[in-house]
């Protein structure tokens, strides 16, 4: 899954526009976005609700289409691909972690983790699998169904699923949103470690300053535009910046 001669950027967007609805009722969710996601970096996207942060994540990940502009995953321009081709890109190069309902209820933890590889018809790298499971502390939970796991465990299984195929980039949408603060902190620490130790690229949408402080770089979004960027954030700096935005 990893490309050898990797380009410096994992994902990009140029002049991205996204409108919902038509004519008078049209709402502009993205208003001329230009963004580069560097490899092996943990990028957070923040903004008040309605700022377009989820739309940015969805269009970057190929779940939704831009109205105008282009975006890339690796060196593939996904904005000109067909639905089937985009699905292939998602399968082969992207991992996902959602806020809730990350797992297929009828598959056990192990089957959920290997799902992307099974879909692609590839072989599981058992060494890598064991390493992830070890780090995430899921070793004794692999045969359990999602309903038999706690919320924190479920999200860790989701992280393991995102990591197992070594995707070029992982998109996470409020991954700790449904967790208590301790489980949330653990989960974010795992994600941070994946970036530091395994050179994984992660883009995360959140509205929680504490969660964002685990990242290397924060993009602030307001009214569909990127209004600021912060490197090496701390929770306090993020909170201050958010207050400036009037929230």
């Amino acid at each position: 899954m990893t490309t050898t001669a990797a380009p410096a950027l994992a994902a990009t967007m140029r002049d991205g526009y996204k409108d919902y609805g038509y004519g008078e009722a049209a709402v502009r969710a993205l208003d001329g976005i230009n963004v580069d996601i560097a490899r092996s970096e943990f990028t957070a996207i923040m903004g008040p609700s309605g700022s377009g942060k989820s739309t940015l994540l969805h269009t970057l990940a190929g779940l939704d289409r831009l109205t105008a502009g282009s975006s890339t995953i690796g060196d593939t321009v996904i904005t000109q691909l067909s639905e089937a081709q985009i699905t292939q890109v998602r399968r082969d190069y992207i991992g996902f972690i959602f806020q809730a309902f990350n797992l297929i209820p009828s598959l056990n933890a192990r089957e959920n983790i290997t799902l992307p590889i099974d879909i692609a018809g590839g072989d599981v790298d058992e060494e890598w699998f064991d390493e992830i499971i070890g780090i995430l502390g899921l070793g004794d939970r692999l045969t359990h169904l999602p309903a038999e796991l706690s919320g924190g465990q479920q999200q860790r299984v989701a992280v393991a699923r995102a990591l197992v195929s070594r995707p070029d980039i992982i998109f996470a949408d409020e991954p700790s949103g449904n967790l208590d603060s301790r489980s949330g902190a653990e989960l974010l620490a795992f994600m941070q470690r994946a970036v530091k130790e395994f050179k994984q690229t992660i883009v995360m949408v959140t509205h929680d300053p504490t969660a964002a402080s685990y990242s290397d770089r924060i993009l602030f979004l307001e009214d569909g535009k990127i209004v600021d960027e912060m490197r090496e954030p701390t929770a306090d700096r993020v909170l201050d910046r958010m207050k400036q935005m009037g929230h």
Binding site: Q99, P116, I119
Partner: protein, 841 residues
């Protein structure tokens, strides 16, 4: 609550569409048939009305008390004499009385000598010259006056392309009579004969054609204006011979309409049975739909309970939804059924001409349709509704999708008990001598179906588990997910499969039965040595034709097989008579010793043996015209044919005119079979154009065709049930796709292609369809074999498993599975991923 229910229906019409269609299909069958039979009834009611419009009183043979004395009423010398007619004419108030003589068994031959419009009857009546009694008006030419003259109804006249002076033939049991056409007549006002061919000749001509009777078969009366008909009826009763009666024309017409309606009622009942089967299958869909709806609305119902709604009110909401579905479904079904009846009527008009009255949906069809639709829907929705009423207010607060899995324990126990009870009932019906065996078998079959449905859920779990490997090998992770989905809601999957099971079971049952019948025929024909057969068609095989065949060169023996009505110890029975000396040479009768050893005695069937009669006992036969007492000399082992077999000579002592229904012809050795057959056909065509000889292979082919048509008709009637079952599979999948929106969205997000989602749903569908089909085949063939075994006394040699049909049904069910998956798979593959994964969806 009513408002809530209606709103719920209005806001979610899609999930109820297939339920409505299921009800509509079942109902349409009932409506279509009832509309059709009522149109048929109306058509013939008009005819009977026309027939008796101008006559006031009819005098005729007293109707037989039992229905099975179906022989021609003209075989006696004639019921009434000229004196009887004169006596009736003398009654006070009678304006005109005329003797009627009628012959309705012949066939009109066209100018080319070929039968004209075979099928509808040829009616030959005497022309009395009394307008009200003849019911016909001369249009062209004149009425018949001299022997050998005939007037033909205007439609037949046109079909014949005859003109006065042409000679047409009328073929009867005794030969062909040539009649000279002298004119055309119009029957009643519009010549509405329901395609029958009506001809008038003089009294003596009709008598001659009818086989040489002397008197009249009826007397018809036109009363004076204002005469008291009741008085005439009772006065006539005084003067007419014993065994005859007088009846007013109005009553007679009503009587005939009633007789017809009784026959049509049987067709209606037949349609109701198949409609019920379809609705029974539909009930499975309705149960599934409402169960899923209740699950989906658990939180809504919990909320309603939390804010103070009573469980009873929740239950009413569901039941009101069910009633709305039933009303809409039944209404659509009635319209659909009416459409079917109109289409069917148009088809009938093409083939059989104008025999139908107006096609109007009768009130009883409306009543039955709404009643059946509502009953089935409400009964089916009852369990889900009760379940909904028990939802606790706590459910509103709980996260969706965490409802606990109920054990299948109760379901299995009840299912097992029902299945065992059903098997016991079937065994009792088939093997033990219980009263009304058909009801036992039928009730048993229904219990087995219900029991199997319940047990199927349990079977599905290990099955789906086992299939996981297979499906994973076929469809990769999709196969695995498909297997999981089937296993996840075993009740729902089992119900869908069981709906299909019922239809397939009935198909397999009929297929097993017809294949076994075919096999019996085939093996009988295989052992038969006769070169040709003649089978009775309209009437018995005429002796004259048999003589013609026997006289043809190359024919060695002609064996006759006839039936007579006789009584033994005062009980009426069926007696067969054969040319016993020839019998063994031409046909392999199922007897314990050669028929040649009958030795002037009688062979008895198993039912007589059961009654305690043994070989050597004396049997005294009585008939209307004679009696004979003979010893029992052997056993005839088939049950259900005739109870007794006699040699021809003894049979003739009971009847000088036995009903010959089968003739077997044996050729000399070393003759050219084709040439001899041709010679027989040529000889017969002269005087007996209606008599057809058939070779065993032709006959076998004919029987097979009849059976294939039977199978086709039953399959056609079951198609509504099968269609509903397939809709059921589609419905279950559709609802489960809705339920699994987020799961499918997740799969799509992590890279499952639309095609793969489609494949997953299709696999689920095919597995469900196959499961139902296999269960249905097992049950249907099982019941079919049991039935054939039970009927072995009636000549069934062995039960045949219809492998070809099993193969066909299996392949068709796989195709049906693929088709059923189209809509749900389309929905699933087109899901909006973003909406599906929305966190608070």
């Amino acid at each position: 609550m009513l408002r809530l229910a209606l709103k719920s229906v209005r806001h979610n019409p899609k999930r109820l569409i297939l339920t409505v269609v299921a009800v509509a299909l079942g109902v349409s069958l009932v409506t279509a048939t009832m509309t059709f039979t009522s149109a048929l009834s109306r058509g013939f009611t008009d005819l009977f009305g026309d027939i008796y419009a101008t006559v006031d009183v009819v005098i005729e043979e007293e109707p037989a008390e039992s229905e099975d004395e179906g022989f021609s009423p003209t075989d006696a010398a004639g019921l009434f004499t000229e004196e009887d007619v004169a006596a009736v004419q003398a009654i006070d108030g009678v304006e005109d009385a005329a003797g009627a003589v009628r012959y309705e068994m012949g066939a009109l031959l066209g100018l080319d000598g070929e039968p004209l419009r075979p099928g509808p009857p040829t009616l030959l009546y005497n022309w009395t010259g009394v307008e009200g009694i003849d019911r016909a008006t001369v249009i062209d030419g004149r009425a018949p006056e001299a022997p050998g003259e005939v007037a033909v109804d205007i439609d037949t006249y046109a079909d014949l392309e005859a003109s006065p002076g042409d000679v047409v033939g009328i073929a009867t049991e005794t030969g062909v009579y040539d009649l000279e056409v002298v004119g055309s007549v119009r029957f009643g006002e519009n010549n509405e004969l329901q395609t029958a061919k009506l001809m008038y000749a003089t009294d003596d001509t009709v008598r001659e054609v009818a086989g040489g009777i002397t008197g009249y078969s009826g007397i018809e009366i036109v009363a004076e204006d204002g005469a008291d008909l009741d008085a005439i009826v009772s006065d006539a009763g005084e003067v007419i011979p014993e065994g005859t009666r007088a009846i007013s024309a109005q009553d007679k017409a009503a009587e005939q309409v009633e007789e017809l309606n009784e026959a049509l009622d049987i067709i209606d009942i037949f349609a109701l049975v198949f409609g019920l089967v379809a609705l029974f299958v539909g009930a499975y869909i309705i149960v599934n739909t409402f169960r899923i709806i209740v699950t989906q609305r658990t939180r809504e119902f919990g909320l309603l309970r939390a804010i103070g709604a009573q469980g009873k009110q929740i239950r009413s909401t569901i039941l009101i939804e069910a009633i709305v579905v039933a009303l809409v479904g039944a209404t659509v079904g009635i319209l659909l059924g009416w459409g079917l009846a109109v289409a069917g009527g148009a088809l009938v008009e093409v083939f059989s001409g104008d025999i139908l009255g107006p096609l109007i949906v009768p009130v009883r069809a409306l009543v039955w349709s709404y009643a059946l639709g509502a009953l089935v829907t409400i009964v089916a929705a009852l369990l889900p509704a009760i379940h909904a009423s028990q939802i606790s207010p706590m459910e509103a607060l709980r996260e969706a999708g965490t409802s606990g899995k109920k054990s299948l324990g109760v379901r299995n126990v009840v299912g097992g008990a029902l299945a065992l009870l059903g098997i016991a009932a079937v065994v009792a019906g088939l093997e033990l001598k219980v009263a009304g065996p058909a009801y036992w078998v039928g009730a048993g079959a229904v219990l087995i179906v219900l029991g199997t449905t319940l047990l199927a859920a349990q079977v599905l779990i290990p099955l789906a588990h086992g299939l996981r490997g297979v499906l994973a090998a076929i469809g990769g992770v999709n196969g695995k997910l498909a297997a999981n989905n089937i296993r996840r809601e075993p009740r729902r999957s089992a119900n869908s499969a069981a709906a299909l099971m019922i239809g397939v079971m009935l198909l397999a049952l009929v297929a097993t039965f017809t294949e076994s019948v075919k096999d019996t025929f085939t093996s009988q024909f295989a052992t038969n040595k006769a070169e040709l057969f003649i089978l009775a068609q309209m009437g018995p095989v005429p002796q004259g034709a048999i003589d013609v065949v026997a006289d043809t060169e190359g024919v060695r023996d002609v064996m006759r097989y006839a039936g007579i009505d006789a009584t033994v110890d005062g009980t009426s029975t069926t007696v067969g008579m054969v040319d016993a000396a020839l019998a063994d040479a031409v046909f392999d009768f199922n007897v314990d010793r050669p028929l040649a050893e009958i030795d002037g005695g009688t062979f008895i069937d198993p039912s007589v043996v059961e009654a305690g009669v043994e070989v050597g006992d004396e049997i005294a036969f009585e008939s209307a015209t004679g009696s004979v007492t003979v010893p029992v000399t052997g056993l005839y082992l088939n049950e259900g044919d005739q109870q007794y077999l006699l040699d021809w000579e003894q049979g003739e002592q009971l009847s000088d005119d036995p009903f010959i229904f089968q003739v077997l012809i044996d050729f000399d050795d070393d003759v050219d079979v084709d040439a001899t057959t041709q010679a027989i056909e040529d000889n017969l065509s002269e005087d007996f154009p209606l008599v057809q000889v058939q070779s065993p292979s032709e006959l076998e082919q004919f029987f097979n065709q009849v059976l294939t048509i039977l199978l086709g008709v039953i399959s056609g009637l079951l198609s509504a049930a099968l269609l509903i079952a397939i809709l059921g599979v589609a419905n279950t999948l559709l609802l489960s796709v809705t339920e699994r929106t987020r799961e499918i969205g997740l799969l799509r997000a992590v890279g499952v292609t639309r095609k793969a989602v489609w494949g997953m749903i299709t696999l689920e569908s095919v597995v469900m369809a196959l499961f139902g089909t296999i269960l249905g085949i097992v049950l249907g063939v099982g019941l079919g074999v049991a039935l054939v075994q039970a009927l072995s006394d009636f000549g069934f040699e062995r039960a045949v498993v219809p492998w070809v049909w099993i193969g066909v049904y299996t392949v068709l069910s796989m195709i049906a599975g693929v088709v059923a998956a189209i809509w749900p798979a389309w929905r699933a593959s087109r899901l909006d991923i973003l909406k599906a994964i929305a966190a608070d969806g």
